[in-house]
Assembly symmetry: C2
């Protein structure tokens, strides 16, 4: 199947918003094996939209429009879609009732305008919108399909996953399942190298390596007759990926590095406390981002000044004077100090030079000492990151979380060995 | 002038990257008063790219391509641009020398392939790329212009600002200046309402309200003969916007709410310490994001547990038991406790329920108490935010920063009154 996407909206031509919808759809179509031929963006102008629809229908079997389904006069996508397909618009009673219910719940007045949001080309299918008012449209004629989706990503994405996927799967006669594996501490090229043969030979399931928020992820998508077959297809690939990438795979789908660490700590009934200088609370903030973090995290200190390092963490004054605040021994004293102060199982101490100023030839910008204390043990890592202040801080926090995760995994393994 | 943008790259049709370049160019063109008629995305396919170029040149005076200027065989934008314009490609000696210098600096081997990155259509202009290897292209024929820009945003954006703007300004005979005003604590619709007449009547300078990272900004752009005239045009509009929006405008261009607070504190020689429960270090992290924050910020405590609140902040045990950790009096005790502990001028205490669980009918999710202590005074704000855990935490931190900013501005004003 060949597809094209038409994004509709003057705000896109004015650059007021970035078109993440088109990227989302493009990625999902690729995963489904649908070839995307072209993407086009036009403004809220009926003639130009009509022209774009006509051209796209000549080239593609499936034309997907994004936006222009609102209640106002300049929202003209459903009208133009119907006109180009030569089909009259009719009211979809179920969609109209959904809109009325939606407005009742919000206690907002309903206008006659909203009625047009429940109209679809004759013989087509209204796609339910549980996250907004505009019904989506699926219309077919002469072997060509037009799919109209609403503009807000919060409406478009679930509508695609819940309403459109089954329609595309029905055409493909089967089901499509997708899962994401998340990877820590390995770059995209290294991941690609380790699985290059799997990437080259992929058929079903497919594997797509992507970078999201500075992290490498692998999205696996399988097409099958039913869910059971999909699971059967997915299992050996996932197993092979785990064998190749080992503990570099830290989680799946909704997991974050911090959520996995919080979960591991909770499973052992262990606690963590943090003492941060150059990361300035970013580590504590990432941990407390996780719902339920209070079970494993009670205290963090942002000891930016030497005075705070002395008074709250018990770092000896002489040590600060002799070694300097950015040193291996101070990181160690910070980790041990916060561990003692919080009576926690684990303590992390971080001190470094995030930049852009404050570096010297001996202690350049990007130099960070990171200490991890556990019981009476403590290990210190000397790190040197390239990049901006923001990058140095982010990379240090990711390193700390991944280090602790690896330790917890080893602890888990040791426990299992002892139990066997 | 009518323009169209053609984004080139199979990775865009696979949804592997979001096209922020097209949005950047669209916004800058709008600010320059160039009408963008259509945006198109095609893959790395010479025939489809050629077709898209031909179609676009029929509709527009200026066609801008993004990407496909690399050294490999599937990078074909400059070849197709030359072909469609009927111009032969010739080597630009200066561009070729730039590429050689670039490789020498990086100590990387130069290949014959790279030579094609210095080729441009005869009679055209090579646009210098100080941030990568591919030269940009500006070519004119029969009153139509083709502009080819490289795909990496770090190359495209400065090339547009430094190389393309003067060319467009020369066509418009003058200079174009742009500045951003940043707004705190007011939503987009309220801002638009307060300046609706200015938005309606805008000519030169233009005003564009945008939402960036959850914040409202106003981008002002003026066209003028020279910089002096531009400044003369901008001044009265900026003055009027400040009159309408008052201290809601917190800064301009590179400023952040945190950087403005750090700067104000530094100007008074004052210091801040933070005691966070539900925001879990996010406030400290935002402050220490600012280079030089150590001058005004020495200590933050993330007191997630009641024990930490008692031991490090001196919150009385009885108070925690009687009022509960999420209460006005505990917030106050936290702010005063950290202020005393750090011997700082200002202390902020935050306690609340970020959710998604932990709420009760009396203390629902989203309830936050925020205390600001200064000398012997302390004020407490009871807040109730809608939204996710992440939204509750972010909004609370923005509120805290803006509250402190407003206090510091008042202090500045009082000082000025006393001095007069």
């Amino acid at each position: 199947m060949k597809a094209e996407i038409i994004s509709v909206g003057t705000e896109l031509l004015l650059g007021q918003i970035v078109d993440t919808n088109a990227a989302f759809l493009a990625r999902r179509l690729a995963e489904l094996g649908v070839e995307l031929y072209r993407r086009v963006t036009v403004g809220d102008n009926p003639e130009r939209l009509k022209k774009a629809l006509q051209e796209a229908l000549q080239r593609a079997d499936l034309v997907i429009t994004i936006g222009g389904l609102g209640p106002t006069d300049d929202d003209l996508t459903r009208e133009m879609a119907a006109e180009v397909m030569g089909l009259p618009l009719v009211l979809d009673q179920a969609a109209w009732e959904d809109i009325q219910t939606y407005f009742r719940k919000l206690n907002r007045p309903l206008t006659e305008n909203n009625k047009k949001q429940a109209q679809i080309p004759q013989g087509g299918k209204a796609l339910a919108n549980r996250w907004g008012t505009a019904a989506g449209v699926w219309a077919e004629k002469d072997g060509k399909c037009v799919l109209c989706l609403p503009g807000p990503p919060k409406e478009l994405e679930p509508m695609f996953e819940e309403e459109v996927l089954p329609l595309l799967a029905a055409r493909a006669q089967g089901t499509i399942t997708s899962t994401v594996l998340k990877i820590a501490s390995l770059g995209e090229s290294l991941v690609a190298e380790k699985i290059s043969d799997l990437l080259r030979e992929q058929t079903n399931p497919t594997i797509a390596p992507l970078v999201q928020d500075g992290e490498v992820i692998l999205r696996l998508t399988s097409r099958a007759r039913d869910r059971e077959e999909a699971a059967r297809l997915m299992a050996p690939l996932e197993e092979e990926l785990h064998r190749r990438l080992g503990t570099a795979i830290y989680g799946r789908d909704g997991d974050t590095l911090a959520s996995v660490v919080v979960e591991l700590l909770a499973s052992f009934g262990q606690t963590l406390a943090t003492a941060e200088s150059c990361t300035g609370g970013l580590l504590a903030s990432r941990i407390t981002d996780v719902p339920g973090a209070s079970e494993v995290f009670g205290l963090g200190v942002v000891a930016y000044s030497n005075q705070a390092k002395e008074e709250l963490l018990g770092v000896p004054k002489e040590l600060l004077e002799k070694e300097g605040a950015v040193s291996s021994l101070v990181a160690e004293a910070m980790a041990k100090g916060i561990q003692k102060r919080a009576s926690s199982h684990w303590g992390i101490g971080i001190t470094g030079i995030a930049g852009p100023t404050g570096g010297t030839p001996q202690k350049p910008v990007g130099l960070v000492y990171l200490a991890l204390a556990r019981g009476k043990d403590c290990e210190v890592h000397k790190l040197h990151w390239p990049g901006s202040r923001e990058a140095v801080r982010r990379r240090t926090v990711n390193f700390a979380l991944d280090l602790l995760r690896q330790k917890l995994l080893r602890q888990e393994k040791n426990n299992q060995c002892r139990n066997n």
